[in-house]
Amino acid sequence: MPAHETFYEVMRRHGVTRRSFLKFCSLTAAGLGLGPEFAGKIAHALETKPRTPVVWLHGLECTCCTESFIRSGNPLAGDVILSMISLDYDDTIMAAAGHQAEEILEQTIEKYDGQFILACEGNPPLNEDGMYCIQAGRPYVEKLRHMADHCKAIIAWGSCASWGCVQAARPNPTQAVPIHKVILDKPIVKVPGCPPIAEVMTGVITYMLAFDRLPPLDRQGRPAMFYGQRLHDKCYRRPHFDAGQFVEKFDDEGARKGYCLYKVGCKGPTTYNACSTVEWNGGLSWPVKSGHGCLGCAEDNFWDKGSFYSPVTNLGVTGNVESTANTIGGAIAGAAAIGVAAHAVASGIAKASGKKSKPTEEVSNG
């Protein structure tokens, strides 16, 4: 393909009409929380800018990010985005295979050195020199480092690439680590979630391609427009939380009435994601809407933080013992109470015996 080809030309070549293209630009601008004037800016950028290639690597993962991505709620957005990125490299959805596929990587580096975006799904295991994830005869971590050396920026798709996720859960035998522990010299956008929401993924990638820069990130490196608030902040069951109306058990009256799921372990109050606003599967539903608490899948270490069904969870300080702040704290306070009572009794005895023996002691001390 000629190097000067624009996004718009690629889309048209893939049968996307101009009407669909403009609709997509408006939808994306709205999805990113940008003003109406940005629809035109996105359209202009995509019409005039040369296409930025995206290489999509897979490490240790379950492919749920890709599955989510290709099910982008708005089929229009999905088609457009797919035509933007599928042309280069993505193990799951590209036509090429074997040596042919691996050649694409080298070609991309040759043509677009320092220009392309590296989207990473899954993470590299480091134990045994990375032998737990082999691709094309090489450890994945080598492939990742090689591609990262030549890319412009990295998108860390999902909780695996962002935080480590299930394969990095204790005791982490393969020593799987998130991307930012391996690649230190490139900008990384974390898009956590297991998987991330499709619209969030397409929104992030469009922003980066259209504006040629990283979206505004929060302190932890997540796009602020999608991870700026907790599920709890925009949850439609929030009024029940404030009122003190909770589901106590999954089959009780409160569950039928749609009360707040906090007491049965909903992690909405500690989870940053867009589920409560964007929802899933094209706005069909999301965990809380279907009556189950949030697991907190977009949060660091969620897999090692104890029960999904209790608001008070494991502290993760005592190895494999499931101990929560309340059990440890209660034991500390209880020990203090028992200790104090015992000390009081001992003090009383000491004082009583001290009175009797005091004269002799004074003598002995001269």
Binding site: D218, G244, Y259, L315, S347
Partner: protein, 238 residues
């Protein structure tokens, strides 16, 4: 300083001595009330009460519990910093909260004596105008270190509600750089509450015990600020 006087002397360790100034005493009771409110509401935030029935719009129970928690937290934090200010400008008993004289050998020998005394390994009791060295260390650990930990984690959690860019986020958002999991920060904050309860149980016991077992008064010193010595003997253990 009086502590550098002849060790066997009893200068300043007889009769009544004014030790705790008004700001220290006022802070103590505000601090105590704030902690009580914070611990109760904090426990109820982690372990909510049984559900309220009726329409959600008719009730604001959890909202009010959180409102009390946040209000008490403001009082706790502001009080703490006013108290720190008073540790700078106040008398030397006020300074003791912030500055534990760990560089002085005498501090450690007196601390060791307190440990022995509370372990019933010696019957000798020393006199103190302010805190004894062990009490002073506990004050520093729980009302400076732990209190600041609770302020930082607490306002960091508060910033999740006030949102990115808010003052709480700008001042305390760094907590989530150290511990990215906000669920973990919540649990550490909750454990901190239990440590405070641990301190309070021992603190109250020690004060009441001092009333009977020590050579000076225990409870009333935090009411009128006056240390009353029970005997005219030397300050050193006997």
């Amino acid at each position: 300083m009086a502590t550098s006087r002849v060790a066997t002397g009893n200068d300043g360790y007889t009769g009544n001595v004014y030790v705790f100034e008004v700001p220290v005493r006022v802070w103590h009771w505000i601090h105590a009330l704030a902690i009580t409110a914070l611990a109760i509401t904090g426990y109820l935030i982690a372990n909510p009460l049984t559900s309220v029935s009726g329409e959600a719009s008719d009730s604001f129970l959890m909202g009010n519990i959180r409102l009390i928690h946040f209000s008490a937290a403001m009082v706790f934090a502001v009080g703490l910093f006013v108290r720190f200010y008073w540790a700078i400008v106040g008398n030397r008993y006020a300074k003791g909260l912030l500055i534990v004289p760990v560089w002085r050998g005498q501090y450690w020998s007196r601390l060791w004596h307190e440990v022995l005394m509370y372990s019933f390994l010696t019957r000798k009791v020393a006199k103190y105008r302010g805190h004894n060295p062990l009490a002073q260390l506990a004050m520093w650990l729980f009302n400076v270190v732990l209190a600041l930990f609770m302020v930082c984690t607490g306002f960091a959690l508060y910033s999740q509600g006030t949102g990115a860019g808010s003052w709480a986020d700008r001042w305390f958002g760094w907590v989530f750089v150290i511990e990215p999991s906000s669920q973990a920060v919540r649990m550490w904050h909750l454990l901190g509450m239990w440590l405070m309860v641990f301190f309070i149980i021992i603190h109250i016991y020690m004060v009441i015990r001092a009333e009977f077992m020590s050579r000076q008064n225990g409870t009333s010193v935090m009411i009128d600020g006056i240390r009353r010595f029970k005997d005219d003997g030397p300050r050193d253990p006997q």
